[in-house]
C-alpha cells in the first residue's frame, strides 16, 4: 500500500467539499480521479500532499516523498530548467550535502532524458511550450525519487498529440519509479491510457469506483453522463 485515504472530510466554510471519501492506491498502480469541475478532485490531491489541512479522516502514505505535478506546471520562472529540476537537491537540507554539483548535473540530465528533453538545461520556463513545461515539471517531481506521484490535470490545455505524449510519460514514470500515482483528469484519453482504476467524485462523494473498462460500460448513471458528456443525468453543473 502506498496511499490510503480513510473517511476524509474537508469543508470550506459551510460547504463540504470532500465528504467521507475513502480509497487506496497500491505501488505501481495509477488511480484516476474524475468528475466535474468543482467536484473536489484537486482538493483531494492538496490534502494528500499536505498543502491544505483536513477536517477529519486519515491519510496514510508509505515512507518517502510525495511528488506533485501541478495543472499549470508551476515552474519557478526566475530559474532555468536545470535549477528548476535541481531545486530540491540544492535547497533541501537533507539532500544538499548528499550530492556534489557534478552529481546534481548528472541527475538533472538523466531526468531530462527520461522525459525526452535532453539538452535544454539552460533554457528558462518562458522559452518552453506548454507541453515541454509540463515534462520539465515531471522531471522536477521525480528528482527526489518519490514513492507517490500526484498529477493535477496533466493534459489540461494541451493539444491531442502533446496529451498523448504526456500520457505516455505518466505510464513510463510509473514503470521507472514503481510509484503509486493519482491522476486527476477530465479527459477520457488520459483515463483509458494511464489508469488502472478510476473513482468518480460528485459533490465531494465517490459515486463510481472501478476500472476504465467498467466506466466505459456505462452501467452507472454518473459515468454514463460523464462519458457521453450529456446535460441530462444525475449530475447538475450549477447545483447550489
Amino acid at each position: 500500500m502506498s496511499i490510503e485515504v480513510k473517511n476524509l472530510v474537508k469543508k470550506f466554510g459551510n460547504k463540504t467539499v470532500i465528504d467521507n471519501v475513502s480509497f487506496k492506491v497500491n505501488d505501481k498502480e495509477t488511480l484516476a480521479i474524475v468528475g466535474f469541475s468543482g467536484s473536489g478532485k484537486s482538493t483531494v490531491l492538496k490534502l494528500i500532499c499536505g498543502l491544505i489541512p483536513k477536517d477529519s479522516g486519515e491519510i496514510i502514505t508509505s515512507e518517502g516523498d510525495i511528488a506533485m505535478v501541478f495543472q499549470y506546471s508551476a515552474l519557478f520562472d526566475s530559474l532555468d530548467v536545470e535549477d528548476n529540476i535541481a531545486f530540491a537537491l540544492h535547497e533541501r537540507r537533507d539532500l544538499r550535502k548528499k550530492y556534489s554539483e557534478e552529481q546534481i548535473k548528472e541527475i538533472v540530465a538523466q531526468k531530462l532524458e527520461l522525459v525526452g528533453l535532453k539538452g535544454i538545461e539552460k533554457l528558462y520556463p518562458s522559452e518552453l511550450s506548454g507541453g515541454m513545461q509540463k515534462r520539465v515539471s515531471f522531471a522536477r517531481a521525480i528528482v527526489t525519487e518519490p514513492k507517490s506521484i500526484l498529477y493535477d490535470e496533466p493534459t489540461a490545455g494541451l493539444d491531442p498529440i502533446s496529451s498523448t505524449l504526456i500520457e505516455d510519460y505518466i505510464v513510463r514514470l510509473k514503470e521507472e519509479t514503481n510509484a503509486a500515482s493519482i491522476v486527476v483528469t477530465h479527459q477520457m484519453s488520459t483515463i483509458t491510457r494511464t489508469a488502472d482504476r478510476v473513482i468518480m467524485l460528485y459533490n465531494g462523494k465517490i459515486v463510481f469506483e472501478g476500472t476504465p473498462d467498467d466506466m466505459l460500460k456505462q452501467d452507472n448513471e454518473y459515468t454514463k453522463q460523464f462519458v457521453t458528456a450529456s446535460l441530462d443525468g444525475p449530475m447538475k453543473m450549477m447545483e447550489e
Binding site: 516523498d65 510525495i66 511528488a67 506533485m68 508551476a74 515552474l75 531545486f87 530540491a88 535547497e91
Partner: protein, 291 residues
C-alpha cells in the same frame, strides 16, 4: 384553569410570532442602513488589520529562527542585496537630493537675511542625517523594492509556485523571506549613508547658488551640527526600516489569493503597510533617542 392556560398559550405564541416578525423586519431594514454598512466595513477592516499583523509577526519570528539557525542561502542573499541596494540607489539619491534642494532653496535666503547664514549647514545636516535621508530612502525603497517583492511573491502564490516549494519539502520562509529580509537589513544602512552624503552636498550647492553662502561656511557649520549619536541612530533606523519593508512586502505577497486582482491588492497592501510602519518606527526612534 385549563381554558385560561390555553388562551394564555395562544396569546404567548401570537406575541412571539409578532415579536419575531417585528425583529425580522427591523433587522432587514437595519442591514440596509448606512450605519450598519459603515460599522460592518470598519469591523472588516479591523479584522483584516489584526489578521495581517498576526501573519507578519509569525513570519518575522520564523525569519529570526532561520537566521539564528544559520539557514541562509548565500547565493540568493547576494542577488537580493544587489537588487535592494544597487537597483534602488538612483531613485533614492534623486529623491533625497531633490528634497534637500527644495528645503535649502526655501530657507537659505531667509536665514541669510535674518543673520543666521552660519547655521544653514548645521540645520541641513541635522535634518538630512536624522530624518530626510533615512525616511526618503525608505519611501523610495518601498515604491521600488517593496512593491516588486510583494508582486513577485503574490505571483508565485497564484501560479502555485509556492505550493510547489512546499511539496518539494523546502521551507518557503527560509527560501523566500530570509534572503530578502536580510538584504533589507544589510543594504538599507548603506543606501542611507550615500543618500545622506548626497543630501548634504546638494544643500551646500543650493546654499551657494541661492544665498551666496560659501562651501567653507556651510561645511564648517554642518560639521558642528552632527554628532556621532545622530549617525548611529540613523543607521539603526535604516536597519529597522529595511527589515520591516522587506518583511511586510514579502508577507503581503505570500498570503495573496485570487488571480491578477489578488496580486494588485497584495502589492497595494504592502506599500500602504510599509509606509505606515516606517512612519511609526520613525516616531518611536524620535521619542526614544531625541526626546
Amino acid at each position: 384553569m385549563r381554558i385560561t392556560a390555553g388562551i394564555s398559550k395562544k396569546l404567548t405564541s401570537g406575541r412571539i410570532f409578532l415579536y419575531n416578525h417585528f425583529m425580522g423586519t427591523l433587522q432587514k431594514y437595519y442591514k440596509q442602513s448606512a450605519t450598519y454598512k459603515i460599522f460592518k466595513g470598519m469591523f472588516e477592516l479591523f479584522a483584516d488589520f489584526l489578521d495581517t499583523l498576526g501573519k507578519i509577526t509569525v513570519n518575522g519570528i520564523q525569519v529570526i529562527k532561520c537566521i539564528l539557525k544559520g539557514q541562509i542561502d548565500k547565493k540568493e542573499l547576494i542577488y537580493q542585496c544587489s537588487r535592494f541596494g544597487v537597483s534602488s540607489l538612483p531613485i533614492t539619491l534623486t529623491i533625497v537630493g531633490m528634497t534637500s534642494i527644495i528645503i535649502t532653496s526655501q530657507v537659505a535666503l531667509e536665514m541669510v537675511k535674518q543673520g543666521g547664514g552660519n547655521f544653514i549647514g548645521m540645520m541641513m545636516s541635522i535634518l538630512i542625517v536624522r530624518e530626510v535621508a533615512v525616511i526618503m530612502s525608505g519611501f523610495a525603497i518601498i515604491s521600488m523594492i517593496g512593491s516588486s517583492l510583494a508582486s513577485e511573491l503574490a505571483t508565485m502564490r497564484v501560479t502555485e509556485q509556492i505550493d510547489a516549494i512546499k511539496v518539494l519539502k523546502v521551507d518557503p520562509v527560509g527560501y523566500l523571506f530570509v534572503p530578502r529580509v536580510l538584504s533589507g537589513i544589510i543594504m538599507m544602512p548603506f543606501v542611507t549613508i550615500i543618500a545622506a552624503a548626497v543630501g548634504v552636498i546638494a544643500g551646500a550647492i543650493t546654499s551657494d547658488l541661492f544665498a551666496g553662502l560659501s562651501y567653507m561656511a556651510y561645511f564648517d557649520s554642518a560639521w558642528l551640527g552632527i554628532y556621532m549619536k545622530d549617525l548611529w541612530v540613523s543607521l539603526l533606523k535604516a536597519v529597522f526600516f529595511g527589515g520591516t519593508i522587506a518583511l511586510i512586502s514579502c508577507s503581503c505577497g505570500y498570503f495573496a489569493s485570487g488571480g491578477a486582482k489578488g496580486v494588485g491588492l497584495a502589492t497595494t497592501k504592502a506599500v500602504v503597510w510599509s509606509f505606515v510602519a516606517i512612519v511609526i518606527w520613525d516616531m518611536i526612534f524620535a521619542i526614544a533617542f531625541f526626546f
